[in-house]
Subunit: 455 residues, 2 copies
């Protein structure tokens, strides 16, 4: 053990962030604005206000204010499950025999099982503040839906979740957690919306997709008095709320006098990665420090590493604004053997711009190697990680092993976004040696790109 | 919020206990010794050493040493997931409108999902130290089996788990967590042991019981070179290891200047309750302080409140030593509608003696009211509790509501032993309004008592 560096570093409650950090304020090249899908003009606050809560719209559009106060009520809720620990992976270092120093920020110590609660509680708060009756959303792997159910229960809001049908059927326990928190959960596509009926008619027997569930949730929000739609990733506002991960990580590292060399996060829509890296990226943007930042995505859904940087639909039903992002096309669906989340076709506009500006790297990894890392980590560090988080573990281990070869004592920080307790079907496949990989062919990707709007 | 009392109090790693506390040392009336089932004479260390690891046998028999050093390796492992937080339930207090101050010690923030890991790592450590190849055990709800799998993976020991068949079938995900940690899991009763085959022949179609799984695990341990049997509750050694819960709780409370009036824990075999209360009970035994201590058990398995204090078999196959305890008879099996753990027919000898000496109280609660408390707690405090833990929540809420009536500002501490992520079948029953209660009739109990040995 390093002297004075404990296994786990917790901030005092008084040291917890009181403001979120908005990385866009420090970006020279701002993320491209959302466009109206009909006019192709930037969405106005008024237009966005039909779908989103007013104060969240302000946060979505604000690319100049660096720090935004965290309302007191949200700070209180954060204290129920935060600060999350910054863990020194002493056991993993020893098992790998690496001179690297490995830290992870563990966001799984709450019932939602992931970092998603950080933004869910914020979005529920603003909905409550606006006097709304409830919110609608979609969920894929189920972490976001669970988080939002918890947040809505806390504020007494109704919560309608459209859950991708394949997850609804394969993860009945996730569904029950949401129901325990009082949410209604509908498998998507459903016959309760126009867009759902249309998709069912066109693709009978479909098991659904995130893009489709988004369309249904938006339709219900727009068509119901006193409801708005909320989203767990991709959006600027979500990255803003998730900055609490990076701010806490940075404060905890400073408390023990450590500066990371490499920061690693898994990337699906970008909520965790964007939150984890934001204050570090801010330093980098302001020229105060340099970090190597690595986004890790599944080889089966490689939006950064093989996608196009273009305006695209955010949803299958094409009812949402257009976003400029690294994307595989809104029609892209990962192959059926892909386990867990990180399956969205696009990537946060903010992260897309930062990646395009070469301020961060991206790598893709195959899922059998991801689950091998997950199992190794579980046995050594005692935490059974979510499949999503395990993408970051894979690359953290790989980087630590490189250090073993070169003898470099690099300091690695990665985001351990959550736990895998509801992903045991995937673990079982891995345990039984039945898990497979699939990398989309160029032809597979071409089909997705063909659906990109002409802008 | 009370000034200076945070939501969560964590000890520093340097403040974590370095010794376990052995409450038996302070008991005037010692717990009755284990008896050889053939001779009815107290089990010797030599006899016990056939079944248990040598150093654990010493701990089992030692009723005079008040403090026993926690080996450095176990302290290091504890640092991976401990200290566990002492939480002030501000949100619950507010929702109940009670003047009571409610604290809980949360043991669910580790992958085993419960406090069981505290003893599992200790037992695995001593097995490793003795140079054994592996250990065998039984598991019911699955928390203990998961904890032991994690501990064995850490020390590179083989781990054979006999899982009560009904749990094996209803909780495939628990099984997969154990397999992910490298354990072999066999549904019990099985045809791999003599006792299993005998039980299957006598009760074809049985879904198993803890008592039966214990018999199988003991048989395999005794019959295999380099193996010993380990147990997750009931035994003195387990209560010793679990004292870390109470010691941390007491240290954290002292750190914030709080003294509890009432201490509440759920009770199955007694591992959590015994651990939580031990240092407080020690003060009580030494006349240094007084506390009201309440054991909460299921009305469907009421060993304290309706059992007999007598010598009984610890297992169905009657291969284990006899223990004097509050018991429903080794043939007692809770009704099929009973969800979760707390289903063992007997109770820790140490706790039985303390209860018989009127140093603690016991109440029984019905499961629908337990799940109502669980749901309420989940929505308010953000943690989805295990069914077992929710027994303590039920009574903590009841006591807080009594304070509301009387206006008393009592301080309540309860043990939140774990999370319910693998208990969603039971939650689903509750959510669907299909959960039922069953209180055994006097005739049901008489059948169990009829099987008590004549000693």
């Amino acid at each position: 053990m390093d002297k004075n560096i404990p296994y786990k570093t917790y901030l005092e409650e008084s040291e917890m962030p009181k403001q979120w950090y908005n990385v866009r304020a420090d970006m020279k090249n701002k993320p491209a604005p959302l466009l109206n899908p009909a006019t192709h003009k930037p969405m106005t606050a008024e237009e966005l206000g039909v779908v989103f809560c007013d104060e969240l719209v302000q946060q979505e559009l604000d690319d100049t204010t660096p720090y935004i106060d965290i309302p007191q009520e949200i700070q209180e809720f954060y204290k129920m499950y935060r600060p999350s620990p910054l863990v020194r992976a002493y056991c993993l270092e020893k098992a790998l025999g690496t001179p690297a120093k490995i830290y992870y920020k563990f966001e799984g110590n709450n019932t939602s099982g992931s970092h998603k609660l950080n933004s869910a509680i914020a979005q529920a708060y603003y909905a409550k503040k606006q006097g709304l009756k409830g919110v609608t959303t979609e969920t894929g792997a189920g972490q976001w839906g669970t988080a939002l159910s918890m947040a809505c229960a806390y504020f007494g809001l109704d919560c309608k979740v459209f859950m991708v049908k394949v997850s609804y059927e394969q993860k009945p326990f996730r569904r029950e957690v949401m129901r325990t928190y009082g949410a209604s959960v509908t498998p998507s596509p459903s016959d309760t919306t126009n867009v759902g009926r249309k998709i069912l008619a066109e693709h009978p027997g479909t098991t659904g997709s995130l893009g489709c569930a988004i369309s249904e949730a938006v339709e219900v929000a727009v068509g119901s008095e006193g409801y708005r739609y909320v989203l767990g990733s991709v959006l600027n506002q979500v990255l803003l709320h998730q900055s609490v991960i990076g701010l806490e990580s940075k404060a905890a590292l400073e408390k023990i006098g450590v500066k990371p060399d490499i920061i690693i996060g898994c990337a699906g829509g970008g909520s965790n990665l964007g939150g984890l890296i934001s204050p570090f990226m801010g330093e980098k943007l302001r020229g105060e420090a340099d970090y190597r930042i690595i986004a890790v995505e599944p080889a089966s859904c490689p939006s950064f590493t093989r996608g196009k940087y273009a305006y695209d639909f955010c949803d299958t039903g094409m009812v949402c604004p257009l976003a400029k992002m690294y994307t595989l096309g809104s029609g892209f669906i990962p192959s059926a053997n892909h386990a867990g989340g990180l399956r969205y076709h696009g990537m946060s506009s903010t992260l897309s711009q930062l990646y395009d500006d070469k301020l961060m790297e991206a790598v893709s990894v195959e899922q059998t190697s991801v689950f091998a890392a997950a199992q190794q980590f579980a046995r050594i560090e005692g935490i059974l990680p979510a499949p999503e988080s395990s993408h970051a573990i894979r690359v953290a281990i790989d980087e630590a092993l490189k250090c073993k070869e070169t003898g470099e004592e690099k300091t690695i920080l990665f985001g351990l976004t959550g736990t895998g307790y509801f992903d045991m079907v995937a673990y079982q496949k891995f345990n039984d040696g039945e898990m497979t990989d699939y990398i989309p062919t160029d032809e597979d990707l071409a089909k997705g790109f063909a659906g990109l709007p002409k802008i």
